[in-house]
């Protein structure tokens, strides 16, 4: 099993969700996060007080899938989240040791 953690532009979330649904991936967890990589932030001024805002709002999408579908899902996420500009985000892939469905104790890929 693989866990895919994608940090994307908030406005691309709908596209990513639609694209995943289209290939039959339903389960995911979404978190609103802030961060930056190479993207520069912006300046805000309130009554002459300047603030450099470099942690920008992003959305983190987490999903766990079978090894067999990993490449397909990664490709889908990357393509649907891409605008081609700096700040599009990153995808990280982890190996998952175990998965358990709380409701009925299903284990492994059966729990996904």
């Amino acid at each position: 099993m693989k866990k895919i953690e994608a940090i994307i532009q908030p406005h691309k979330l709908e596209d990513v969700k639609e694209a995943l649904k289209a290939i039959g991936v339903d389960g995911m967890t979404i978190t609103e996060v802030r961060g930056h990589g190479r993207q520069k932030g912006h300046k805000e001024i309130y009554r002459g007080m300047e603030y450099q805002v470099d942690l920008l709002p992003k959305v983190k999408v987490e999903l766990v899938i079978t090894d067999a579908r990993a490449e397909e899902v990664i490709k889908t996420v990357v393509e649907s989240a891409r605008t081609g500009k700096i700040g599009d985000g990153k995808v990280f892939v982890y190996d998952v040791a175990e998965a358990i469905r709380i409701r009925n104790d299903d284990r492994g890929e059966a729990a996904l």
């Binding site: 805000e44 001024i45 309130y46 009554r47 002459g48 007080m49 603030y51």
Partner: protein, 463 residues
């Protein structure tokens, strides 16, 4: 049958009597009735406007100022800040009923009223001809109370996010007695030192409170900011407004409420009230644009916070002038105020480095001073013919009426207001510092006033 007729007899008699009386009233009676009717109608109109104005001015404090200030602080201090406005609606009201109105508006010495209206004794339905000949004295009293409420609330912008609630309460109680009541008496009270219309030695024009409300609060605010020192983390931690949206709502409520503040200061539903209404609106519009364009040129972007701050600066600056100037001078005063206050809260504040958290001084102190001086320039008897000499001849008012000396009078009024605010506030802060301590602890400040002072949070997202 007979019995029934006997019952009817008195009724018939009374009816006949009534007909006899109304049949031929003397011409004198009819004129007297007519005069009484006209008076009553005028009183009804004036009283309706004054009660409406009183309610509008209260709305400026809550929710107007509460939201304007509340939006500008960090999320952890929103309740603490809103409370500093709201609770004054209660605190000052009680003080006003006991002694405040008397000290401010009873005839007394040139600097303070006497105690004839203690516990509102004698303040009832009968008008007080000096203040408002057509409205109940009680109407005037409740209208003036709303000014006494908002003035100390304005100061809270300077010590926001770091003053103890208990210290704020004690500060306010002392401040209205030592600064507000004397100043209100001097400018508006009968026989007050600066009252141009009711026997003051130095005739100063302040239609709705440029000195009494804005200079007094704004200058006291600066003293508070300097005395309390900066907020923990000032200059290193971000201290962005947590919701400019709330501030926009607050500023708009202030703009609307200010019509009661300025136009209501005519104490009648008169043409003068209309003129003050118009001047107020024009100055505000020009000031919003003045600040916006100044900021646009200076920083490259026209901010929403800038536009609403400009509007408030314009409202402040036109306050003393509102009942004395024509619409175009009002536009000019507003424009100047917008640009001047922008300069004060950006360049001047950062140059001197004081932490006037919400710019109570930069907007109210600076705008109030500008407005008071401009009143001396643009006040004209074409708008306000209330100032007359002994023979009843209408006197010219400001520089535009050929009375350049008025600018000097206004400057003296400004200096007295500044002086009283500085000295009074310093003494009060010292007392509060010794008695209860002014500032919350650094830990409480980091935690935020909402939790540390009030045991609540403004936004419970998990609820």
């Amino acid at each position: 049958m007979l019995r029934r007729l006997l019952f009817l007899l008195p009724l018939v008699c009374m009816g006949t009597l009534a007909v006899a009386q109304s049949a031929a009233p003397s011409i004198d009676t009819r004129i007297a009735n007519l005069e009484a009717g006209v008076k009553s109608a005028q009183s009804a109109g004036d009283n309706a406007w004054m009660l409406t104005s009183a309610a509008l001015v209260l709305m400026m404090t809550g929710p107007g100022l509460a939201l304007f200030y509340g939006g500008l602080v960090r999320r952890k201090n929103v309740l603490g800040t809103v409370m500093q406005s709201f609770i004054l609606m209660a605190v000052v009201t009680v003080i006003w009923a006991i002694a405040g109105y008397s000290l401010a508006f009873a005839e007394g010495s040139p600097v303070m009223g006497d105690l004839r209206y203690l516990f509102l004794n004698g303040v009832g339905a009968a008008p007080n001809a000096d203040y408002g000949a057509t409205v109940p004295h009680q109407t005037y009293m409740i209208y003036q109370l709303m000014f006494a409420i908002i003035t100390p609330a304005l100061i809270s912008g300077a010590f926001a996010e770091r003053m103890k609630f208990s210290a704020m309460l004690l500060f306010t109680v002392l401040w209205v007695f030592i600064v507000y009541f004397p100043l209100a008496h001097m400018v508006w009270g009968k026989g007050g030192l600066l009252n141009a219309f009711l026997g003051g030695k130095i005739p100063c024009f302040d239609f709705a409170g440029g000195t009494v409300v804005h200079i007094s609060s704004g200058v006291s605010a600066l003293v508070c900011a300097l005395y309390l020192g900066k907020r923990v983390g000032f200059g290193s931690e971000p201290m962005k407004p947590h919701s400019v949206v709330l501030s926009v709502i607050g500023a708009c409520l202030l703009w609307v409420g200010w019509f009661g503040f300025n136009a209501g200061s005519a104490v009648a539903a008169s043409a003068l009230a209309t003129s003050a209404f118009v001047a107020t609106h024009f100055a505000t519009a020009a000031a919003a644009l003045g600040w916006m364009f100044a900021e646009w040129m200076h920083n490259g972007k026209p901010s929403v916070l800038g536009a609403i701050s400009g509007a408030v600066a314009g409202l402040v600056a036109i306050t003393p002038a509102s009942g004395f100037v024509k619409p175009f001078p009002a536009l000019l005063i507003g424009l100047l105020a917008g640009v001047f206050c922008f300069f004060m809260v950006t360049a001047v504040k950062s140059k001197f480095g004081y932490d006037d958290s919400l710019d109570a001084f930069g907007v109210h102190g600076a705008g109030g001073t500008l407005g008071a001086l401009m009143t001396g320039v643009f006040a004209t008897s074409a708008v306000n013919n209330g100032l007359k000499d002994a023979s009843g001849k209408v006197l010219g008012l400001g520089l535009v009426d050929g009375n350049p000396g008025q600018v000097l009078n206004q400057a003296v009024g400004v200096l007295i207001s500044w002086g009283l605010a500085i000295v009074g506030t310093l003494i009060i802060l010292k007392i509060c510092d010794v008695v209860v301590g002014l500032r919350v602890t650094p830990d409480q400040e980091q935690e935020g006033l909402d939790v540390s002072m009030h045991g609540e949070e403004g936004y419970n997202f998990d609820a």
